[in-house]
């Protein structure tokens, strides 16, 4: 990467499209309302972005893994996790560690089930994860019925609104996740194998990459990271219902792709996804500020999304 930048210092600014888009949105926001750039609003937008970025972390891995990889169960896993944390941990912090262990393990298991469907049954990822999401939604309903949501305890509470040296915890967590994910993708064996598998799965197999392990790990990690995002989402809003995670499925895909990860796999980075999440959150924030009615807001957000896609992620010829 650095060597690349050396060869083409100007043409190779990483994420130039996304950064330009963010600049554009900030300028537009400033024009709409001077307080758009106030620290309060920026922290609010960054918190939302961090939540979306964490939710998109698993999606990024899955999309990087190529071979039509996509995870449509992210939203359902987030819902189930939020409900479970709410139902199990209750209003005290004592049960939080155990609850976290359980929901993260469950998330990873669901992801593993996706991976098994993709790798061993050789089904399209879209089909498997869509089917699994139907089942998870059903499970969430059954769970919520037997163990109704409760108010969060102080720990979860502070994830959502607390600050760490003036920085919202969500943003801190997002930043840590960004560092971890970048280390994972760039420097670990798994990360480098993931790019190979996503770039050309047959070639990876021939080079001796343990493809099955990589694919299973990727989907399991996606489930686990979706569970992490579910916990954060619960912290963000402090209550849960059965459709709370649903919007995140498509949002994570959009953030990942806007961030420059090719839907065909094998190229992209988590930083890109983070920028994609920021773009997405800025658009949403800007549209709320414009004070538009629902109809116009939907229509304009669609048009802006088209423009962003056009600017950041056209398919190659």
């Amino acid at each position: 990467m650095t060597a690349l930048a050396r060869t083409h210092p100007l043409r190779r600014i990483p994420h130039a499209g996304s950064l330009g888009m963010i600049l554009l949105l900030l300028v537009a926001g400033r024009l709409v309302n001077p307080s758009f750039l106030s620290p309060m609003n920026l922290w609010a937008v960054l918190s939302v972005s961090a939540l979306l970025a964490v939710a998109s972390a698993g999606q990024t891995l899955v999309i990087l893994s190529g071979n039509q990889g996509i995870d449509l169960s992210v939203g359902a896993i987030m819902t189930l996790t939020a409900l479970m944390v709410s139902g199990m941990a209750g209003s005290s912090d004592e049960a939080v560690p155990l609850t976290l262990a359980v929901v993260l393990a469950l998330g990873a298991l669901i992801g593993l089930a996706n991976g098994i469907g993709v790798r061993f049954l050789a089904l399209y990822p879209l089909v498997v994860t869509l089917g699994v999401s139907f089942v998870i939604e059903g499970l969430a309903l059954v769970y919520a019925q037997s163990q109704p949501p409760q108010m969060p305890g102080p720990l979860i509470e502070s994830i959502g609104i607390g600050r760490f040296f003036g920085i919202p915890w969500l943003v801190v967590i997002g930043a840590v996740m960004t560092v971890l994910m970048t280390l994972l993708l760039r420097f670990t064996r798994y990360g480098r194998q993931l790019y190979l598998v996503g770039s050309n799965i047959r070639a990876a197999q021939m080079a001796g990459v343990p493809v099955t392990r990589v694919v299973l790990t990727t989907y399991a990690a996606s489930g686990l990271l979706a569970a992490v995002a579910g916990v954060l989402l619960y912290g963000y809003v402090a209550s849960a219902n059965l459709s709370i995670g649903a919007p995140y499925t498509m949002m994570t895909i959009a953030a990942t792709v806007i961030g420059g990860t090719a839907l065909s796999g094998g190229s992209g980075s988590f930083i890109g996804t983070v920028l994609g999440a920021v773009i997405f959150s800025l658009i949403s924030n800007l549209l709320i500020m414009l004070g538009l009615g629902p109809a116009l807001r939907y229509a304009i957000s669609g048009l802006v999304l088209i423009a962003v896609l056009f600017a950041t992620s056209r398919d190659a010829a």
Binding site: L4, N200, M206
Partner: protein
């Protein structure tokens, strides 16, 4: 009445693939297009047929300009092309593929099934495959596919036929069918542009030649006027492969012992052994089980019941390519689609096996560059995506990777497919060094019997999954003629 490519230039990013190249093909003329890997032959062919746009220059078909980058328009103007990577769509039937570009219709929008079938029948009859028009292309055998590709190109009755390495994957009898059709086409006043690395074929089919080197036209004239040595020199290499009498192979121990192999479904099981320090070729007609043996050894194919392979005495985990690679068997194939990480950099491609396996120190840039230099690989920096290199150079990188790995066994499946003579020599030298100096067991196949004969110490000829001949350089029984007669005898007997 000519196909004229005038002053064609074309850049791919920083690479100038073609630099002011002109050529013309008249009626009845078959022009050879020759040059080293990456010299711009395929690019030229693609520009002539409207698949790529020319950066500068123009294409005139019988004085009518090819105005847009559009294969459809080139086709309408009378240019037909066969692609080395084929333009057939596997999910469709052979018949459907043939009528695709020009679907017979009723009422303007409905598919005229009878008309389509008749058209497909007529076209396929010319290559002797009329009976296969209801079969999906993905179920055809390799040679059949190339014949269908040819039928498809001829289907629009082009005046100019562009053939990009069609014959390299064909078996001799299929080449004959091609030869007949080409002669017919030329006799009817058509012209042809023939791209190949195989000099004997060029001499057989063509009367004129254009030679490219680094995207520039270096020679144009009658083929009879140039000697093979000149061609090879132009193509970029220093000398023609004189097949230096290789040192007698180290009388190595048996490294790979395979028992109970069933190379073809239902065939009788066979046993094979491969020694260290020896290059073993597996020859024969296409699809006689060569692929199964090689892929089984590489762990890319699950074992059939009873199959067992040991490496230096230890059983291999058949079907597990990662484990087998870790045990020291490297696989390299000429099919770049399944070997190359096109979007990733050259460095990552070189390092892939090290990333895949634990416990091997990652080669640094110096080691990578040294390995690439050994093969005279042309590249613009190892942190550029490998996909931007020509096919031949990509291929060399894959072989150079084996050099870094220093494996116990190398399984090479037609690994010099479509690379120029000079590069081929580089690869051959490297394989010999790996075997004869470093003591690896090398197991190769090739679509070119000449190559097998030159490269290998020993060649096993397969037919119907059985070894029907074992030819050896030491015993002086090995030459291309011997390989061909071994399997031809078998075919005639059948």
């Amino acid at each position: 009445m000519t196909l004229v490519l005038q002053g064609i230039s074309r850049d791919f990013g920083p690479v100038r693939a073609l630099d002011d190249v002109s050529l013309a093909i008249g009626p009845g003329e078959c022009r050879a297009l020759y040059g080293g890997n990456g010299s711009g032959k395929s690019t030229m062919a693609k520009i002539a047929s409207g698949i790529l746009s020319a950066g500068a220059g123009r294409v005139l078909v019988d004085d009518r300009p090819l105005a847009r980058t559009s294969p459809a328009e080139a086709r309408a103007l009378g240019v037909g092309i066969t692609f080395q990577e084929l333009s057939l769509i596997g999910e469709l039937t052979t018949g459907e593929n043939l009528v695709l570009a020009d679907v017979p219709r009723r009422f303007g929008f409905l598919l005229d099934r009878r008309g389509a079938d008749a058209a497909a029948h007529a076209a396929l009859k010319r290559v002797g495959l009329a009976g296969l028009r209801g079969r999906r292309v993905e179920l055809l055998q390799t040679g059949e596919k190339y014949l269908v590709e040819l039928a498809k190109a001829l289907q629009s009755h082009p005046r100019y036929l562009i053939i990009d390495e069609l014959t390299s994957a064909m078996h001799a009898s299929e080449v004959e069918i091609f030869a007949g059709l080409l002669a017919e086409h030329l006799a009817a006043g058509g012209g042809a542009l023939f791209v190949s690395h195989r000099l004997p074929e060029l001499r057989r089919f063509c009367n004129t030649i254009s030679v490219l080197r680094n995207g520039k036209l270096v020679f144009e004239g009658a083929l009879a006027d140039v000697a093979d040595d000149d061609l090879v020199k132009w193509a970029g290499g220093g000398h023609r492969d004189e097949m230096p009498a290789s040192r007698a192979p180290l009388a190595g121990e048996i490294r790979v012992q395979a028992t109970g192999l069933r190379p073809l479904p239902g065939a009788r099981p066979i046993n094979l052994a491969f020694r260290s320090g020896e290059i073993t070729g597996i020859g024969g007609l296409p699809d006689q089980g060569q692929k199964h043996i090689q892929r089984l050894l590489a762990g890319l194919q699950p074992a059939v019941a009873g199959e067992r392979v040991t490496l230096s005495g230890a059983a291999l985990a058949l079907g597990d390519s990662a484990a087998i690679a870790a045990q020291g068997i490297s696989f390299v194939s000429g099919d770049r689609d399944e070997m190359v990480f096109a979007r990733r950099t050259i460095r990552e491609n070189m390092q892939a096996p090290f990333v895949a396996m634990k416990g091997r120190p990652m080669p640094d840039d110096a080691a990578i560059l040294a390995a690439l230099d050994r093969l005279n690989t042309r590249h613009a920096g190892i942190d550029r995506p490998i996909g931007g290199l020509s096919g031949g150079n990509q291929q060399k990188i894959l072989v150079a990777r084996c050099l870094l790995l220093n494996p116990q066994v190398i399984v090479a499946e037609d690994c010099t497919k479509g690379i120029d003579v000079a590069s081929r020599n580089d690869v051959h030298h490297l394989l010999r060094e790996l075997a004869h100096v470093q003591g690896a067991a090398v197991i190769v196949t090739s679509s070119d019997d000449q190559e097998l004969a030159g490269l290998c110490d020993r060649v096993l000829v397969l037919d119907g999954g059985q070894v029907i001949a074992e030819l050896s350089k030491v015993e002086q029984t090995l030459d291309a003629q011997a390989i061909v007669s071994a399997y031809m005898k078998q075919e005639r007997a059948a």
